[in-house]
Symmetry: C2
Subunit: 318 residues, 2 copies
């Protein structure tokens, strides 16, 4: 297949691709996880059928950075959330870049360039999410410490499931990827791109300037925006399960295979998909196909090629 | 001038471009400094004469990250130096990207793309620097704590000027920029690139894999390597002073203007330039011109255009 016929595909990694539940989060653990992840991603590229952009979450990594900032605050000025997000993009991008370089090299394709692009995401400063901060970030606090932070720094704090108090921040919708042009340039030159990590660093337009905001953009919706902005044909959202399910974890659970946008929208409205879990993935898939994308695939990492061939996973099409 | 005639120029920022001596190091301070810095850098691009890659140091930022890691180590697994370096590239790249976006936009050139590329630098695992770790990094420790780190983690610790004990790491020579191909692709498409921050993340080749190492590559030598690898015509190294001087800070101090590589080499051998300060800058300039670069310019940030026109600063040519 001629290289200019490769299918431009944006792939969102699930959280487990980098850090697994229960792991402490050493760099060594994360690098080992990433090495397994990139073996699967590389298959897409090595098949010769796809050129890819990879996005990823950053919840645990940013949580750890925020906790480090908190514990060291008497001696080191604490960074705001946008800066911690940028730092986590550096960390995770480094692991993914190096690991992809390695797997390509091990397959005799050390010539395939890989690049992590620090990504900012434009959001609307008037997004209604700013009136309703609801996304918990960072460490748990005692009630007393939470009240102090609320007074001193104006943080919004909530009690989280009896485990203590946490800061909540707005989760606005992505409007555009600031770095879409460089990402497009790299893809046109057949570089594998890592971008939009952790939903991108949220920035608002204030007059003629971009300014960072303390917020978290949903990783799946962000990846959808990226896919639109680079003109991708296919959006792949990876998660822990092989399919999207109706009545998930119920006796009458049903795996979804190939469904239309309309079917997906109906299921979404019927409340089949959990908030903060499958719901944003299905929503992202619908938005992508409605905006002109060819198909959105939701599946697990190790089934990605099979799912792209239509043999498993959930595929949303027009 | 046709855009394909622009002079490809690699610019190394000085430390003061991001954090000034005596500043505490809040994100706000650093962003304000960066906003002044990018006004000068943008002049080069807005003149229509240059396309640029910008590199930067990361000493204070990595130092703060290492101190945060140290102070939080009971609760958050500490990251090795290569990971802290990658995090600092994310942080500083974010500030520089956003600030350049803003200054271009304020000048009606919001169409100029800007991209920070996470950069790894290949070093030789047998570099003699590994037998002689000499670059101090991170926080100061008491003698007792230093001995503990030496035993527990095998760190090399030295006493630093009566201010306490510090870890020292190797400072090997850069051999190649891993991301040179994507950086070239972006430059070919007229994107302003931020790369090789903090000397790049040092990686060695182990069999068919790249692996990170705890080391620090000199920022100026790294920038020279970057300039070679992208085929730059001009290397600019920015610092606090307008020129390179003979007998610096002596009564017979003499500013150097246009000098040849041979003259520069003689002055270097005569010991005119301070280790860790002007010496690596002059060395980088010599290496660049000897490797085929047209000229290397050493000057201060606010004189950069004048110096490129040959009206101030120190210029090294064949």
């Amino acid at each position: 297949m001629a290289s200019n016929e490769k299918t431009l595909t944006v792939v969102a990694l699930g959280g487990n691709a980098i850090l697994k539940p229960g792991q402490e989060g050493t760099a060594k653990q994360q690098i080992e996880n990433v090495n397994e992840t990139t073996k699967q991603l590389a298959k897409m590229v090595l098949s010769g059928e796809y050129k890819i952009v990879v996005s990823h979450g950053n919840g645990p990594q940013v949580g750890n950075l925020m906790l480090q900032n908190e514990l060291a605050k008497e001696e080191v000025p604490s960074h705001p959330l946008d800066v911690c997000g940028a730092e986590s993009q550096g960390f995770i991008g480094y692991m993914l870049s190096q690991s992809l370089d390695n797997v390509f090299n091990q397959n005799g394709r050390g010539d395939i360039p890989v690049s992590t692009v620090l990504t900012q995401t434009l959001i609307d400063g008037d997004d209604p999410a700013f009136d309703d901060p609801s996304k918990p970030v960072g460490p748990f606090y005692t009630e007393e410490a939470a009240e102090e932070l609320q007074e001193e720094k104006g943080y919004n704090m909530i009690e989280d499931a009896g485990r203590g108090y946490r800061r909540v921040v707005p989760s606005p919708e992505p409007e555009a990827i600031v770095e879409k042009e460089p990402i497009r340039q790299l893809l046109a030159a057949h570089t594998v791109v890592i971008a939009a990590g952790g939903g991108g660093v949220p920035v608002v337009r204030e007059g003629d300037r971009l300014v960072g905001r303390e917020a978290v953009i949903d990783k799946d919706l962000e990846t959808e925006q990226l896919a639109e902005d680079v003109g991708a044909e296919v959006l792949v959202i990876l998660t822990d399960v092989e399919n999207v399910y109706l009545n998930y974890n119920q006796p009458d659970q049903e795996a979804l295979g190939r469904i239309t946008v309309d079917e997906a929208s109906d299921y979404l409205e019927e409340g089949h998909f959990a908030r903060g879990s499958m719901k944003p993935k299905v929503k992202a898939g619908i938005e992508f196909v409605e905006s002109g994308g060819k198909k959105a695939v939701i599946t697990s990492l190790n089934k990605v090629l099979e799912a792209l061939e239509g043999n498993t996973g959930t595929t949303i099409t027009k």
